[in-house]
Structure formats: structure tokens, C-alpha cells
């Protein structure tokens, strides 16, 4: 703990101003008298402490990280370096347009690239992450119905396989949600959908390929059914990596989409964020896009705000969203170019299908064995859980001992004992082969020494943690002793 290194009166003196001027004109009752409880340490102690902490993490730069739905691919270093050029880092968000043409050119180019690669009519870059993009998208659906006086639409449909942010976003926009089941083949149950549709339907939120890792084959039919019922279609772009340059959400009939640039466009996840969740829309939703947006008249770039776009759902962040993430995604898009975008989906799909095939050969059960994998796929360990009493969590924890970050576990909720595995296009064949060997080894261990797996991990900085105690005896901040 950083506070363990703290000693009263110690400081990293070189980093702060040399003096502390007297406060003039601030009434005494407004001034702080208590000392803020921050650590008092030297610069080197800080550097050592945080370097050591970093070494307790798995990351893409250090480990294979096949976390399904999260697209943990290589984050090119150029994206960081070029988004951090001094002129870009020091630009104030409220700098006038005269001092923003270079920055705005990057954003405008990115808006255009995202528009074309998704087949949408217009794009706003401002949402800060996927979930905020979802919020913006559903808010636009609401604004559209409201503008038409169509106000009995109170329900958003979400498949049972949907990510938790989907229903949560719909509720934040004032909607109720209704779940649509997934069929045995992994596609949405179209008959159940037909029954659920009605005059109360505002829209449906779909991920395609879905979170079970297969392409929704009847998407055109679904789109016309929903449109006929007067609803709109929302596309959760978390899985865009699977189809980049192959098929576009706009062509599938979606009215609004978000993209997770921190997935498909390879900006880093940073231990939890930041991301960026731009939204794209069809023509009829264009007036409602969140502001600000960048406009270009062929000569100059300028910001569009509430004044220029009176029907906008409004502003979602104080400035222009996660600008630095957008710049990283822009650099990535330029490095890839159009050929590179096709290759993203091609090689992520090749890797996923290869890995799935090899794991099935090694005796693991695919959740949807008859289906082609998209860029990810699901194994179900229910056989192992039943016969050996070793469950998915145990497998996941044991993988850490072998130096692989565990895939996504227990999501989507409808597949029991599932592992959602997404290798991404940046992994080489030998890395995938190695993963198969690890899975094979753990399976053998589960058969012969189940306790070894059930107690795993054994080599991490800590063993399995007591989550119940964490929630029951809340310790959420270090408090000074006295």
C-alpha cells in the first residue's frame, strides 16, 4: 500500500512550485484546515511502487488475453505516440476554430471512415464508451418516436444473450425492456420476436454477430418485422471486429449503431477505460445525433453545437468526448486503410474457427457445434462440471497459472458453464496452439487432480479472494490510524 511508504514531512519536491503563496481575499471559513490524507513519499518510492503494481497485472503486452466480447488485440504503439504529439496534448478543448483545424480534420476524417465502414448515413463521435453510445442510440430512438407524436411506444426488446449494458441503457432512457429468447441454433427465436412485437415496441437492440459468437442469419427478416411494427433497430457494435469490411450494419437494416473503438479500433483498455463509443445513424435519425459534431464545408472545419442542431438529444460530455481515444483510433484506421480493415475480420475469424476446431478435437464441447464461429465462440464445460465437479471458474483460474488471461466466463448468461473465447487477429498460430495445449493439460488435471484446479491459481500474487467478505465488511478506502 502506498500509504505504508508515507512519512510525515517527506515530499517529491521537484514537481511542485517552489513556493506556496498566501491566499488573499478568500474568507477564512472557506479555507481548509484539515490536512488532506494523501501519502507523503519521494518520487522514487512512487516510481518503484507503481512499477511493482504494474507487474502484478496481466495485459495484452505481456499475456495472451482471449477475453470474449472485449477484443483484446494488439494496441499499436504508434497510436499512442502520434495522439500524444505536444500540439495535440496541449490543445484546450475550448480553443477557437482557428486553432483547431488540424485536430478537427482528424475527427472529421474519422467520422467519414466510420460512416463508410458501417454503412450509416452520419456519425457523431462524442459518446465516451459503448454504454454511452447505447444511451445515445436509444435516446435517439425515443426522440424519433416523440417527434412523430408516437408516444405509446414504451418497450425496448433485448435478446437474453444481450450484454447487461443494453437493458440498463434502455432503462436510463425511460423504457421498459422485454427479453427475447435465443433459439437452439444460436439465432434469435424469430417466432418469439414476432409475438413480442406490437404498437408498444420502440425498438430492438441486437448484437450481430451476437454474443454467442454466431452471425444472425435471418437479420433481414428481423429488420423488416421490426420496421413493420413501427420499431427501430439498434446495433450493438461490440462485435464489429468480426465483420469489418465484410458486411455493414447499415446494409443489414439497422437504424442506429454504436462502435466500441476500444475494441475494433484497437485503442487500449487502460485497466478499465477510457473507451470511445461513436454512434452512427440512418437518415431518419440524423437530426438527433448527440453534439458536438465536426462539419466541413470544403475549406474549414467547425463545431456543430446545439445551435446548429436544434433537434439533437444533446450533449453527453462537457467537451467532445474522449478526444485522445478518437485520435488513437484515427491513427489505427489510417495505418490499416481499407485493405487492413478487411483483414481484421478475416484473420480474427480464421483464428477463432481454427481455435474452435482444435479445442473440439481436444475433447471440448462447443455451445453451437453446427455453426461457423464468428471472431469468437463459446465452449460449455457443463460436462466437466457435472462429471468432475470442476467448473468454468476453476478452469479460468487455472489458466492464469499457465500465463494466459482467462476468457470471459459465465457470459452470455444463457449458456451454462460457458467460456467465451476471442483470440483476435493479432495472435500467431503458435500462440493458439499453445492455448490448446494448456486447455488439454487443465482437462487432464481436472480428471486426475481436481483439487489442483479447484484451488487455482497457485502462482499469482494472491490466491482466490474472499468476495463475500469484500462485500460484507466493506473496506473501500485506507483510513489513517488516528
Amino acid at each position: 500500500m502506498i500509504y505504508d511508504h508515507s512519512r510525515k514531512g517527506r515530499r517529491a519536491t521537484a514537481q511542485a512550485p517552489l513556493e506556496k503563496p498566501e491566499l488573499t481575499g478568500i474568507p477564512a471559513e472557506m479555507v481548509r484546515t484539515s490536512r488532506p490524507n494523501l501519502p507523503e513519499i519521494s518520487e522514487m518510492q512512487a516510481v518503484r511502487h507503481f512499477t511493482r503494481l504494474s507487474q502484478k497485472n496481466f495485459s495484452i503486452d505481456t499475456h495472451f488475453y482471449p477475453l470474449g466480447s472485449c477484443t483484446m488485440k494488439y494496441n499499436p504503439r504508434a497510436c499512442n505516440t502520434l495522439a500524444s504529439l505536444p500540439g495535440l496534448l496541449s490543445r484546450h478543448p475550448l480553443a477557437p476554430d482557428t486553432h483547431s483545424q488540424g485536430f478537427m480534420a482528424c475527427l472529421h476524417d474519422l467520422q467519414e471512415i466510420l460512416k463508410h465502414v458501417t454503412g450509416m448515413h452520419a456519425v457523431s463521435l462524442s459518446p465516451a464508451a459503448g454504454a454511452q453510445g447505447e444511451f445515445a442510440g436509444v435516446a435517439m430512438i425515443r426522440a424519433y418516436h416523440d417527434a412523430r407524436g408516437d408516444d405509446q411506444r414504451s418497450e425496448i426488446l433485448v435478446p437474453d444473450a444481450a450484454h447487461g449494458t443494453n437493458p440498463a441503457s434502455a432503462v436510463m432512457c425511460g423504457y421498459k425492456t422485454r427479453e427475447i429468447p435465443t433459439g437452439a441454433d444460436g439465432d434469435i427465436d424469430v417466432e418469439a420476436l414476432r409475438e413480442a412485437l406490437g404498437p408498444q415496441t420502440a425498438g430492438i437492440m441486437l448484437t450481430n454477430p451476437s454474443t454467442v459468437g454466431v452471425f444472425e442469419r435471418r437479420i433481414k427478416e428481423i429488420a423488416s418485422m421490426v420496421h413493420e411494427a413501427g420499431g427501430l433497430l439498434y446495433y450493438d457494435g461490440a462485435n464489429l471486429n468480426a465483420i469489418l469490411g465484410k458486411v455493414r450494419p447499415g446494409d443489414m437494416g439497422f437504424d442506429v449503431i454504436h462502435m466500441n473503438l476500444h475494441k475494433t479500433f484497437s485503442t487500449p483498455h487502460g485497466g478499465g477505460g477510457p473507451g470511445a463509443g461513436p454512434v452512427g445513424v440512418s437518415e431518419r435519425l440524423e437530426p438527433y445525433l448527440p453534439v458536438p459534431m465536426v462539419d466541413y464545408d470544403g475549406q474549414e472545419y467547425r463545431w456543430l453545437s446545439e445551435k446548429d442542431r436544434p433537434d439533437t438529444i444533446g450533449r453527453l460530455s462537457a467537451f467532445a468526448g474522449n478526444a485522445g481515444v478518437l485520435l488513437r483510433a484515427y491513427v489505427y484506421a489510417r495505418l490499416l486503410g481499407r485493405e487492413g480493415m478487411h483483414r481484421v475480420s478475416e484473420f480474427s475469424t480464421l483464428n477463432a474457427n481454427y481455435l474452435l476446431k482444435r479445442l473440439m478435437e481436444a475433447g471440448f464441447d462447443a455451445a453451437y457445434p453446427e455453426r461457423r464461429a464468428s471472431h469468437e465462440f463459446i465452449l460449455t464445460l457443463k460436462k466437466q462440471a457435472r462429471d468432475l465437479d470442476v467448473n468454468t471458474m476453476d478452469f479460468a483460474k487455472r489458466m492464469l497459472d499457465y500465463g494466459v488471461h482467462a476468457p470471459t466466463t459465465y457470459f452470455p448468461l444463457l449458456v451454462p458453464e460457458c467460456l467465451l473465447i476471442e483470440p483476435t487477429e493479432s495472435e500467431a498460430k503458435e500462440e493458439l496452439d499453445q492455448f490448446v495445449e494448456i486447455m488439454r493439460t487443465i482437462k487432464q488435471e481436472a480428471e486426475n487432480q481436481p483439487e489442483l484446479v479447484k484451488q487455482a491459481p497457485h502462482t499469482m500474487p494472491v490466491k482466490r479472494l474472499d468476495d463475500v467478505r469484500a462485500a460484507r465488511e466493506l473496506d473501500l478506502a485506507y483510513k489513517a490510524e488516528d
Binding site: 503494481l53 497485472n57 447487461g164 484473420f347 457470459f411 478506502a477
Partner: protein
């Protein structure tokens, strides 16, 4: 192939294993009529050196003007170690710490962040970040509506002297849940919340009163008075604060008799570069009592099977991945890396360092205000004490003045005309610890020229 390691042999072996002829066969479940073509509109790929030269030229285009704009984003020194460490791959390229045993670095760091934020704000608990200050306010509003059991209304009092963008963001985020944000006027002479206007709402049912410190005009509020007023009227007190100011000013947890209930704000002054507005991070702290209403990730300290201390995500039953439509918020990805920077920043600066930065920024803004006031027709508009920003009245049209200054490479402040037309020609200026005496004199000299040139131009 950029970022793809496959050799031709790899590809052939892999296809053979799968049992297909070509990669394209793997897309055979996608209806052919849906497949898109070449995407000609997207430019072809460029090598790193060409993208580098493009980005360098774009960065140069924007120059590096001398900046006196604050208005929610502040130009502070960031110790070199902060981003050197933050961009280590182990922090930079990790995901949300779902596998706790393989993420103790991030988890412990977040716990330390929560500790430092509670230390700075004197609140009980902190979450692990929200998107930015404005969306943090929106979440605080939602939290207050859920958390104030005494209130049946979905109404919140929001002062007009809070950042205009924050007010708009809060409105766009909460309005579909039929929450009403009711504006409280500010006092035209002090720039503080107008107590008389506030009194009109006494005894009415509101879930919370929002209290900025400092407010958008840089002016300091009577936070004790406002907090007590809120509590006496059955409302929660939501503090919206500059975290740097908290090192020097009475922290939200100590306001009035009981302290604020929720404290949120923009974390940018703690180690995030200006960078065109993001990524920054929103922070959200509250009292113990409200912790289960908190949105976002929270890290708790616990023990492992051997009794060794460790850290884990906790109270996850509030979150979307468990609770889905009943979650406290839809937030999933947050601003983890920015919080990494902020934690390292606070650790290196310490309380003393932050206080020095805050006090120097305060002093520099006073110097700036005095220097500009030496010009005819230029003076502070409000009488209230300020932290590190001040509204200055101008004798000429603000847009013209700022435009001319900008063409001379000085960004003279934020034009208040659009958001506060009633103030006439007025500009919000800020001088952080990075603006030297020479910079201030440079601004003063150039503004003097601009004013003179305008005085000579006959008005149409």
C-alpha cells in the same frame, strides 16, 4: 500485413485444420446479398512514417498558443513520471480487472485512488471513475433521486452559475426519466448562488441541491450555508468541486453541520493533459449511507484463501453485468487509465504539492486580474472571492477581442456571451501555475493594443 502475424503457411495449415478452402468460406453464413464491396471511400493503408508525418503536420497546424482559458479544463504541470508509468503496457493494455488474481496491480491502484479521493474530499467512499465531470453530475443527480428516501419528487435544484455544459449534459442524461432540473439564479453582484431566489424553494419537495465549488465564474460559494439549507429542507447536498481546489478549500465532507452527501467533479486537474477535452475522468464520492446507490466500479480490500490481503471488485450487484435493467447505471468501461495517472499524480504531488499548485494558480489569477484591470474599462465583474478563475468585463465586443488576441496567438479566455448574454461583454480568464509573469504581461499588452485599435475604429 499490419498487426497480423500469419504467414502463408500458417494460413494454409489453419484452413486445412478447419476444413475449408479459403478464408472467405468462413463467412458463408452471412447472406451473400448483404456482403459489402471494396469500401473505396476509405483511404488505403499508410506506413507508420507517413501517418506520423500527417499527424505531425496536423498538430503543427493548431499551433501552441498561450492559453488563458479554463472553463472546466486546466493547464497544469504533470510530473514526468506520471505518464511514463501510466503508459507501461501492463497498465495501458489491461482490461477491466475481472480476473482479480491476475489484476492485483490495477485493483490495488484503484483502491489507492479511492483512498486518495476520499482523503481529498473528506467523503467516506469513492467509486473508481465515471466518464467525465459532467456525466458524473448526471449520475449524482440520478443517485440523489434514488437515495433521498424523504423526497417523493424527481426534482433537483441546479444553480445557473454551474458550468453550462454540465447543466446541458445533466439534462440530456436525466430527462428521459422525467427528472426535472430546476434552475436557481445567481447574484448579479457577487456571482454566488442567489440566496433570496433559493429561499423561494424552501419547504418544497426536491431530492437535492447542487452546490458548485468554485462555480463556473470561478467564484467561491458559501458552502456551509448552502449545505445546511439543503439539509434543513430535506434535500441531499450534491457538491460539484474542482479536486485541486479541495486541497486548499474546505472539503465537501466538512461543509455545514453534516457535510455534503455526494461529491462529484472533473478529475482532469489531477494529471490529465488538456488534450482537446478528453479523455479525462469523472469522480464520484459519497457518504457510507449512500454507497449502495453508487454507480460504477468500486474496489474493496479483502483477503485471499490464505488470509493474505488482496483487492477485488465489490458491491457488483449494483452493476449492469449482474443487475441488467435494475442496475444503478449502464456504465461499464470507465476511465481507468486516467485514474491510474491521477493516482500516481496525487502520490507524487502529495497534499503539499497540490496545495502549492492550487495556491500558485490562485495567486497568478489575481495577478492577471490586476494586470488586466489596469486597462480602461476592464475590471472584475463579480465581487465574490475566486479560486483560479475570474470574470472580467471588457470595454469592447468580446468576440472581436478574443478573435484578435487569438490571431496574435493568445487565447484570452472563455466568451460568456452565448451562455450568459445578460452579463454583456465579459470573459472568463484563468492563469494556472504555468502562466508566468511574462505571459501575463504579454496578455495585458496585447489586450491593450486590441482595445486601442477598437477605440480608433469608428463604429458603424
Amino acid at each position: 500485413m499490419p498487426f497480423i502475424p500469419h504467414t502463408e503457411d500458417d494460413i494454409q495449415e489453419m484452413l486445412a485444420t478447419i476444413g475449408v478452402e479459403s478464408i472467405d468460406d468462413l463467412f458463408d453464413e452471412i447472406p451473400t446479398e448483404l456482403r459489402c464491396g471494396e469500401l473505396q471511400e476509405i483511404p488505403p493503408g499508410l506506413p507508420e512514417m507517413e501517418v506520423a508525418s500527417l499527424m505531425q503536420s496536423r498538430a503543427r497546424t493548431d499551433g501552441e498558443p498561450l492559453c488563458f482559458i479554463g472553463a472546466g479544463a486546466y493547464d497544469h504541470h504533470i510530473p514526468a513520471a506520471v505518464w511514463e508509468l501510466t503508459t507501461r503496457g501492463e497498465f495501458y493494455t489491461a482490461y477491466t480487472p475481472y480476473q482479480a488474481e491476475a489484476s492485483q496491480g490495477t485493483l490495488q491502484l484503484l483502491y489507492e485512488f479511492q483512498s486518495m479521493m476520499t482523503g481529498l474530499t473528506a467523503m467516506d467512499v469513492s467509486n473508481a471513475s465515471l466518464y467525465d465531470g459532467a456525466s458524473a453530475l448526471a449520475e449524482a443527480v440520478l443517485m440523489a433521486v434514488r437515495g433521498n428516501r424523504k423526497s417523493k419528487s424527481k426534482r433537483i435544484l441546479l444553480p445557473a452559475n454551474l458550468h453550462p455544459h454540465y447543466r446541458r449534459v445533466a439534462r440530456s442524461i436525466v430527462r428521459n426519466q422525467k427528472i426535472e432540473l430546476v434552475e436557481v439564479a445567481y447574484d448579479k453582484s457577487t456571482g454566488q448562488v442567489d440566496m433570496a431566489d433559493l429561499e423561494k424553494h424552501a419547504g418544497e419537495d426536491y431530492a437535492a441541491l447542487v452546490i458548485p465549488q468554485p462555480n463556473f465564474f470561478g467564484v467561491l460559494e458559501q458552502t456551509d450555508l448552502l449545505t445546511d439549507w439543503a439539509h434543513q429542507n430535506g434535500m441531499l447536498a450534491i457538491a460539484v468541486v474542482n479536486p485541486l481546489a479541495m486541497s486548499l478549500l474546505k472539503p465537501a465532507g466538512e461543509w455545514g453541520e453534516q457535510g455534503a452527501d455526494i461529491c462529484c467533479g472533473e478529475g482532469q486537474p489531477l494529471g490529465a493533459p488538456l488534450a482537446s477535452g478528453g479523455p479525462y475522468f469523472g469522480f464520484l464520492c459519497c457518504t457510507d449511507k449512500l454507497v449502495r446507490q453508487m454507480p460504477g466500479r468500486i474496489i474493496g480490500k479483502t483477503v485471499d484463501m490464505d488470509g493474505k490481503p488482496g483487492y477485488a471488485l465489490t458491491l457488483q450487484a449494483r452493476e449492469q453485468h449482474i443487475r441488467r435493467s435494475k442496475a444503478t447505471s449502464n456504465i461499464c468501461t470507465n476511465q481507468g487509465l486516467m485514474v491510474t495517472a491521477a493516482t500516481i499524480h496525487m502520490a507524487i504531488m502529495g497534499a503539499e504539492g497540490l496545495q502549492r499548485v492550487a495556491a500558485t494558480s490562485h495567486a497568478n489569477t489575481q495577478k492577471l486580474s490586476q494586470a488586466l484591470s489596469s486597462l480602461p474599462g476592464v475590471e472584475p465583474l463579480f465581487s465574490g472571492a475566486v479560486f483560479h478563475e475570474q470574470v472580467m468585463k471588457l470595454p469592447i465586443e468580446t468576440a472581436t477581442a478574443l478573435g484578435m488576441l487569438a490571431s496574435d496567438n493568445v487565447l484570452g479566455g472563455f466568451n460568456l456571451q452565448d451562455d450568459y448574454p445578460e452579463l454583456g461583454d465579459a470573459v472568463l480568464v484563468c492563469a494556472t501555475e504555468l502562466r508566468s509573469d511574462d505571459d501575463i504581461e504579454n496578455y495585458r499588452g496585447k489586450l491593450e493594443q486590441v482595445i486601442q485599435s477598437q477605440a480608433q475604429t469608428p463604429s458603424q
